[in-house]
Symmetry: C2
Subunit: 308 residues, 2 copies
């Protein structure tokens, strides 16, 4: 497959250029890190408001985490084993003045200087809910625990394709409790999200998928995820009909985080958890892709849904 095309001759940079030309994003010289304009943000905030409204009766606590996370947390959940290629660990300058001069000289000369920085205690957060679990060690209330957050997440996958960003925002909802609670909760969110996509007139389809594990050796994990439907995604064609883009995912973790951080349900057993994440930038891009770049020309039902 040629770079810049998706097999069917559709140029992925065409959509990127459209987003730039219609003043929705501004390029910054590296892939997947563009600026969002006020027009883009206005739609994004409205989409996020709709999501918060869907959840308004759930009694979820709202947390805001910074884009960085304790690196030890990622080590503990084996993130660097499963997704090393996507990780972003934060390195800083930890030496003295002589080394600093050496660094300045090498930067000025345009030679490699990556060995002069050292690993810090933090990494970029790759999934909105990761920083939550270590804060929940202990026993949950009988009805379970519900939390929501809107965080910037990072994935090291630089790409000219506008929907594949290195840094983007996810509105996430998390449930923890006994297995039936969280699985029913996920079912409810799948219905909510499907209804939302309908009301936004986005032609979404649901699919059972697996996570993008690195390398070989994850075959049994991938098979388990797919056969047990642990990971579902709602996708909409943005770049091509053949390769729809995932806008939200619905994940059952079983007792994975319960075990990693000793979170117990009220019955004393390891807690189950589930999360539902909405890629806010992707939903905005889907809206402009499907309904066109002129908001005034969007279907009136859609406009009144977004701006009631």
């Amino acid at each position: 497959m040629a770079r810049g095309t998706l097999g069917i001759g559709f140029h992925i940079n065409e959509f990127y250029d459209d987003l730039v030309r219609h003043q929705l994003i501004v390029p910054v010289g590296v892939h997947g890190a563009f600026a969002r304009t006020a027009l883009f943000e206005n739609v994004l905030q409205r989409v996020d408001s709709l999501l918060e409204m869907l959840a308004k009766d759930d009694g979820a606590d709202a947390y805001t985490f910074p884009p960085i996370i304790n690196r030890k947390v990622l080590e503990k959940v084996h993130y660097f084993n499963s997704f090393p290629h996507l990780c972003g660990s934060v390195y800083s300058f930890l030496s003295g003045e002589a080394q600093a001069r050496e660094m300045s000289n090498r930067i000025a000369a345009g030679t490699k200087w990556d060995d002069l920085l050292g690993m810090t205690d933090v990494a970029l957060n790759p999934a909105a809910c990761y920083p939550l679990y270590p804060t929940l060690t202990g026993t949950l209330p009988a009805g379970g625990r519900y939390v929501t957050m809107l965080n910037w997440v990072f994935r090291h996958e630089p790409s000219p394709e506008p929907t594949r960003m290195q840094s983007f925002r996810v509105r996430e909802f998390v449930a923890l409790g006994i297995a039936d609670q969280v699985s029913d909760w996920r079912k409810m969110w799948l219905q909510r999200a499907t209804a939302l996509m309908d009301s936004l007139r986005l032609p979404a389809a649901v699919d059972a998928v697996s996570d993008p594990f690195f390398g070989s050796g994850h075959e049994s994990l991938i098979a388990t995820q797919k056969t047990r439907c642990l990971k579902l995604e709602l996708s909409v064609p943005i770049l091509s009909p053949e390769h729809p883009t995932a806008l939200c995912s619905f994940n059952l973790h079983q007792a994975y985080f319960g075990m990693a951080f000793d979170i117990r349900s009220h019955d004393g057993k390891l807690a189950n958890s589930a999360c539902v994440g909405f890629g806010l930038e992707r939903i905005v891009m889907a809206l402009f892709r499907i309904h066109g770049f002129t908001i005034a020309a969007w279907p009136s039902t859609l406009r009144s849904r977004l701006w009631p």
Copy 2:
């Protein structure tokens, strides 16, 4: 000075503990990366709305940048020369399966593995306005150019002191044009900010300061910054009367960014620029520190200013 105190016996962890106990922040196991609760965020959003309102007649374009920035931009503005100790460069795994196994083994064994990641094209953004300047190469309109943004920024300075975060949000306003334009604009913002602090009943004082350059060799830069008042700060006592905390800064860059990115004012000369940044978390902390942890007990004029 003993760790954890500020010379006058005030324990800085006391304020941190207060913020936790009153459910404003949630610890995450590393310094300066705590979660913010809905209560904290509500006040932060209201403060940000007031700032946006102050600027409503300025005709500023609003951009949202992700927390990452093109590393080359930081190299070009000599960030790694001036503030290497504060930088955060993003490293990822750039090798194959054998190296990935080695990494997993070392993480499991608890041995060093920092040499297995490599430098990427992005770094964490250390100042809200940095990513803007490279997008402005060219000639500005006669009236100058005004932009605002609310971005997450990073500084590698892990500390138990709650106001010294590694990751925090800055609402920033930027002006570019001829020298008089941007200097008058900064003067106006100093008045606006002082009036805002008054209305929030925060006892703010203005001071001419310099940037926290690394090591020796920056003496003449520091002297220039101070004698020409290039950097002003509004500070409020949060941790102690003797060491007030800067809540906002007002910076004249002269033609520094104009030269780095070839930005010209309408007369063809290198553009001057200035920026005004408000540390949103710090303003929220100042409010709780000065007015107490019970919002219902805050002065009514303050409450009606924040929630009109």
